[in-house]
Amino acid sequence: MPSGPDADSAAAATPEPAVGGPTHGERAGPRLLPCGESAVLIEVTDTAAAIDLARRIEVLRSHPASARPLVEDIVAGQRTVLVTAPGAAVLSDLRRAVTELVWAPMVSGDSRAAWPGEQALVEIPVGYAGPDLDVVAAHTGLTRDEVVAAHTGTDWVVGFTGFAPGFGYLVGGDPRLVVPRRAEPRPRVAAGSVALAGPYSGIYPTESPGGWQIIGHTGAVLWDLHRDPPALLRPGLRVRFVDAGGPS
C-alpha cells in the first residue's frame, strides 16, 4: 500500500499530518506569490477561503478563452492555493485568469456557515473505540459520549490534502474538539483510523505512521486505485460521521 516508504527519508515529506497554526499577523487579503516559471501560489486569509478559491479555479480546467490547457494541478493548502500550468508558455494567461477569479467576491470568515461545502455529502460510519478517546475526553473536558456526539453532530468539510494519497484535512467541525497532536507519533496507524489534531479531523487512508489522536475506526475505503477517482474525499465535499456503535 502507498504508505510512503521514504516518508522519513525526507524532511521534505511531512512524516505525519501537519498541524499548523493560524495566520501570524500578516496583512490580510489575497497575495499572488511567485513560484517558478509555470506555477502561481495564491495566499488567502484562511482555509475556508483557500477551499473556496480552489473550487472556483477548477473552472479554468475548461477555460474558453484559451485553446491551450491552462491548469495541470490545483492544490489547496492551509491558507494557499497552488496552481500549476502545463508549461511556462501559458503562465501569463493562467496568472491573468487567476487574478480575475481572486478579485471576484470571496467567502471568508471562520463561522461554520461560511465553510464553502458543496451540496454533496458523504456519510462515514465509525466505531468510536479509538485508543485516544479517553485522552481527547480528558483534554476537552467532555465525556466519551460527548466527544462522539460532538464529532458526529456537526458536518465537516474536506479542506486540503497532502499527507498521503486520499488523506483530507477535515475542517469546520465542533470547535470543542480542538486537541493537540500526540507527543509521540505512532509508527503505525491502521487504514481507516479516524483521528483528531488541532482544529482538524482526518481518516488515515492507508497504513502509515501518524501522530493524531485516534478516536475511532471506519470500514469506509478512502483510497482505491481501482476506483475512479481513487480518493473518496475531495476538497469541498461535506463529511458526516455516523456512530456505528462499537468497533466498525
Partner: protein, 322 residues
C-alpha cells in the same frame, strides 16, 4: 520463458519511468516520472517510438539484463559504459540486443541516472495512467528486482532514424543551476546567501529531492572549502515560525529548519511545511537530477529576485525569462 528482459542485477536502484501522472496532486498523488526528462525523451526519440513509452531509470549503473527475444535498445543520460555479451556498445546509439544475449551497464564516469529504453517499451500495468514508480507514495510498479522478467510491448510502426545523438554527458564538475523566485524568499535572512555559497550534494539525495549541505561552502564569511558550514538563516520574524502546509512544485528549493536546501525532484511531496524560497528553472531540473553525491552545486538568479507581490504588480517574471 515469455518474451521480455530478465533482470540479473539492478545496481543501487532501477525503476520503471515514463512521463508520470500529472493532475492528481489534489488527492495527494505527485507526478513522479523520469527524473531527467530530457534524457528519457531522447531515448524514445532515438528509437523512433511514440512519446510516453516506459523505460528503465538506472541509478549509478549496475543493471544486467538477459534478452528473451531480440530487441532494439538505447542508453541515454549518464554515460554508463554498456556492453552486450562483454562487447562495448555506444552511448545514445540504438543497438540490437540478440535473443539470449546479456546487456550490462557499468558505473557512469559522471552523472547519476541512465535511461535504458527498449523498442515497444516496458509493458507493466499502468496506475492512474502512468507506469512510473513513485518512490514516495509507493504508487506504480515496484522497484525493479533481480529475478523478475520485464515484459516488453509491441514496437511502434517507425524505427530508429538516427545512429547516434551528439549529446553531452552530464558534467562532473561544479553544476550551476538557474533560479527563479519562490513564494517564501522573504523567509531568508539573506537571500544572497543562497547564491553566494557553493553547496555539496548529500549522500541522502534521492528521487524525492537533491539534498545539499555546506561542506566546501564559500562566500562572505566562508573564505574557502572547509568544514560543514552553517545552513541558511531565517529572517528574524520567521525564526521558529511554522509555515502552514502548502503546495510545492518540481524544482522547488525548500529550506528546512536546519537551513540546508533540498531541490525537489520527480517524487517530491505534493505539499510541504517548510518554506520554498526559490524554484530551479525547468530546463535545469534535468541537470540537477544528474548531480551525484559529493558533487558541487551553485545557484544563480536568472530573474531579479522579488519579494512577494500583491495583485496588480505582476510584471517582471514571465516577461524576463531567459
Amino acid at each position: 520463458m515469455i518474451r521480455g528482459l530478465e533482470v540479473l542485477a539492478t545496481g543501487p536502484l532501477t525503476v520503471v519511468q515514463d512521463l508520470g501522472r500529472p493532475g492528481y496532486a489534489a488527492v495527494g498523488v505527485g507526478r513522479s516520472g523520469a527524473a531527467d526528462r530530457a534524457a528519457y525523451r531522447l531515448a524514445g526519440r532515438l528509437l523512433g517510438e511514440p512519446e510516453g513509452r516506459a523505460a528503465l531509470e538506472v541509478t549509478l549503473g549496475g543493471l544486467v539484463l538477459r534478452a528473451h527475444g531480440s530487441f532494439t535498445v538505447v542508453v541515454t543520460g549518464a554515460a554508463a559504459p554498456a556492453a552486450i555479451d562483454g562487447r562495448p556498445v555506444g552511448h545514445a546509439a540504438p543497438v540490437h540486443l540478440p535473443d539470449g544475449s546479456v546487456l550490462a551497464l557499468g558505473m557512469p564516469p559522471t552523472g547519476l541516472r541512465s535511461y535504458l529504453a527498449v523498442r515497444g517499451g516496458i509493458d507493466v500495468e499502468p496506475v492512474l495512467g502512468s507506469k512510473s514508480t513513485d518512490t514516495l507514495s509507493g504508487i506504480g510498479p515496484g522497484v525493479v528486482m533481480a529475478g523478475q522478467v520485464l515484459p516488453i510491448g509491441e514496437p511502434g510502426p517507425d524505427g530508429p532514424t538516427l545512429d547516434v545523438a551528439p549529446v553531452a554527458a552530464p558534467g562532473g564538475g561544479v553544476i550551476e543551476l538557474g533560479l527563479l523566485p519562490g513564494p517564501r524568499l522573504d523567509w531568508l535572512a539573506e537571500p544572497s546567501a543562497l547564491t553566494a555559497a557553493t553547496w555539496t550534494v548529500s549522500e541522502r539525495s534521492d528521487r524525492v529531492g537533491m539534498r545539499l549541505h555546506g561542506q566546501g561552502r564559500t562566500g562572505p564569511g566562508h573564505p574557502g572549502p572547509g568544514p560543514v558550514g552553517p545552513g541558511l538563516a531565517r529572517a528574524g520574524s520567521r525564526v521558529q515560525v511554522e509555515l502552514p502546509s502548502e503546495g510545492v512544485v518540481l524544482g522547488g528549493v525548500q529550506v528546512p529548519t536546519d537551513g540546508f536546501p533540498i531541490v525537489f525532484l520527480a517524487d517530491h511531496p505534493v505539499t510541504g511545511g517548510y518554506p520554498v524560497v526559490a524554484v530551479v528553472r525547468d530546463r535545469d531540473i534535468d541537470r540537477a537530477a544528474q548531480c551525484r553525491p559529493g558533487q558541487q552545486v551553485r545557484f544563480r538568479w536568472v530573474v531579479t529576485a522579488q519579494r512577494s507581490m500583491t495583485f496588480g504588480q505582476l510584471d517582471g517574471i514571465s516577461s524576463s525569462q531567459p
